[in-house]
């Protein structure tokens, strides 16, 4: 009897099975916990949160935090900037990547090897932070919206993925269109594009995530607050929260109760600001990702076949 209990259908140890389940489940809980905690903090009563009375169960549920966070200075602007750069930037990337990828898949491309290497080479060296910075200034892209979307138009990596995919499309399809007199643009638009939709979807998703998550370009190349992205605003609010927390710590316990109350009220708003802005920035990803997960994985598999 014991033998039956110890082994599963394939004859492997049930104990090992259980351990695997436990380990991976713990890992998944660890991944989910920070998100859950932020949600709990944001929808719980602010006073309870700031006096440390909220753990894993939300208490005093309300949604005012999220609404007030959206009304914060610059938040709506930042939301629009983030959305705009994600949409426009992804579009630019798709256009650049697919056109170049298709063009290079054609053997008759003028000096194909040279120009292909011209692009691939950029993956292996970087000109450095400062020259890049100066370059953006010289190109008059510094502090403009185009800085977010134009440089990413040609991504060598995505281009390779797309070119590889196009090369797997049977040549006969294009050839018959060519014999019928269709030019490159028509063949590209009518045949290649529709057939390469899976790859386009994959590139689209990765590019969109990249645009939504971008932070350092705002950090060193934007000084106009109207161009701040949601990520950057979150970063700003985080800094304020830390400064406040640090001043609370350094003043130790020697504050009068009135000052303490005022500080507490400040701390309240800084915690709730931090968690609600964090929630606003996370929510799109949390909601959309589960539905698109299979495209991410499919894309990697297509890329892996190449590598």
């Amino acid at each position: 009897m014991k033998g039956l209990l110890l082994k599963n259908r394939e004859g492997d140890s049930r104990i090992a099975d259980m351990m695997i389940y436990v380990v991976y489940t713990l890992f998944a809980l660890l991944c989910a916990l920070p998100f859950y905690y932020i949600i709990v903090q944001t929808i719980s009563d602010n006073y309870l949160v700031s006096t440390g009375q909220v753990f894993l169960i939300p208490r005093g549920i309300h949604f005012r935090n999220i609404i007030s966070a959206l009304k914060l200075d610059g938040m709506l602007m930042a939301a629009m900037v983030s959305i705009a750069r994600t949409v426009v930037g992804t579009l630019f990337t798709l256009i650049g990547t697919t056109i170049l990828g298709y063009a290079f898949s054609r053997r008759e491309y003028w000096h194909r090897q040279f120009w292909y290497r011209f692009i691939i080479l950029t993956m292996y060296f970087s000109t450095g932070l400062i020259p890049g910075f100066m370059n953006m200034k010289n190109l008059r892209l510094y502090n403009t919206f185009w800085l977010y979307v134009v440089p990413g138009t040609v991504s060598a990596y995505f281009m390779i993925l797309y070119k590889t995919f196009v090369e797997s499309i049977p040549a006969s399809l294009e050839e018959s269109a060519q014999l019928d007199g269709a030019g490159y643009a028509v063949r590209y638009a009518r045949i290649i594009l529709p057939l390469s939709l899976p790859m386009i979807a994959t590139i689209c998703i990765f590019a969109a995530v990249g645009q939504w998550s971008a932070f350092s370009d705002t950090l060193y190349m934007v000084s106009d607050s109207r161009l701040y992205t949601l990520q950057f605003k979150l970063y700003q609010f985080m800094n304020q929260a830390e400064q406040l927390a640090a001043s609370m710590r350094s003043s130790g316990g020697n504050i009068s109760s009135a000052a303490m109350e005022a500080e507490l009220r400040n701390l309240m708003s800084s915690i709730s600001i931090r968690t609600s802005v964090c929630l606003i920035v996370t929510l799109p990803v949390l909601l959309i990702y589960p539905f698109f997960q299979r495209y991410f994985i499919k894309g990697i598999m297509i890329g892996a076949v190449k590598g």
Partner: protein
């Protein structure tokens, strides 16, 4: 393929070739690549002059290899460089040493036969990969902050400690903490990638092994790990090639006055000295040397890969 210009009669033959027209279609994009990836090379000249912002490079005093020498001859700068390289290499190395972890997690994930549950695990563990480091920082702050981080609150409640532990603003175990954060974010996704690779292993091998009476650990040792090894080796070589790089967003966001000593990587150092302290010439010189070292590493890595795999990974 390309047209030769032979005599006036055929002067414009090239221009009419379809391959050339194709090239013209793509010219705007090639120009963009030039503008953003090659043109900045012009800025390398900043390393050879005493650059002052506002002046054109040509107007600045030429100083030759002054800034390159400064890195090695100036004792203060040299010590900075050593410290920063130690941090960079230390953190990269830690990642390389543990780069087999995703493989093991993938093998574990595959052993979870309940499909629905496995998909849920996949989804939950891969979400962190798609959020920005700003969000990770914000979430980490929410969990680990001294006053209202969940971890500290629980520890205090359970009586383990009387005061919150300062995880984020301390100088202890920085490399390990960064490694932990990196894994929280990336392990789930890397495991899923390896899982996809596992799916590519010939099923007949499994069946043959079972018929021969192989236990699970036999299968793992003799089929799955060897099946994943090629992918692993390629990724390993690539990470050696990028050993002097670091994730800028990660180190920038988690750096503070307390941990700066151990967390400042080469990239962060270049940012701090270059943009914040406006040391353009100095940091451009560092950047140039970094580029050369990178190229050497990549060529070396590719050579090793060729020897092992019999083909290039470039």
């Amino acid at each position: 393929m390309s047209g030769h210009i032979i005599g006036t009669g055929k002067r414009f033959r090239t221009l009419k070739e379809p391959g050339f027209r194709l090239f013209l279609f793509t010219l705007p994009f090639l120009v963009m690549v030039f503008l953003f990836s090659y043109l900045p090379l012009w800025g390398w000249s900043m390393a050879f002059v005493d650059y002052k912002p506002g002046k054109a490079i040509s107007e600045c005093t030429f100083v030759g290899l002054k800034y390159f020498n400064m890195l090695f001859n100036n004792p203060v700068k040299y010590r900075e460089l050593v410290r920063v390289m130690k941090n960079t290499l230390g953190m990269s190395f830690l990642g390389i040493l543990t780069s087999w972890l995703p493989m093991i997690f993938a093998i574990m994930l595959k052993e979870i036969r309940a499909t629905r549950y496995r998909k849920i695990l996949q989804t939950v563990t891969t979400i962190p990969n798609f959020i920005s480091w700003v969000l990770v920082y914000s979430l980490a702050f929410g969990m680990l902050s001294v006053t209202d981080g969940l971890v500290n609150k629980m520890l205090i409640k359970m009586g383990v400690v009387s005061q919150g532990i300062n995880f984020l603003a301390s100088k202890d175990h920085i490399w390990v903490k960064m490694w932990l954060l990196g894994n929280w974010k990336g392990l789930g996704w890397s495991a899923v990638i390896y899982l996809a690779a596992l799916a590519g292993i010939d099923q007949e091998l499994y069946e043959a092994a079972r018929v021969d009476g192989a236990a699970r650990h036999h299968i793992i040792r003799h089929i799955e790990i060897p099946g994943l090894l090629p992918t692993f080796v390629v990724l390993l070589i690539l990470s050696i090639a990028t050993i002097i790089n670091s994730d800028f967003d990660k180190v920038y966001l988690f750096a503070n006055a307390m941990n700066k000593e151990s967390i400042e990587t080469l990239d962060l150092y270049v940012y701090n000295q270059g943009i914040k302290n406006v040391q353009f010439s100095y940091t451009t010189a560092i950047g140039i040397m970094k580029s050369f070292v990178s190229i050497i590493l990549i060529v070396f890595a590719n050579t090793v890969a060729k020897k092992i795999r019999g083909e290039s990974i470039l």
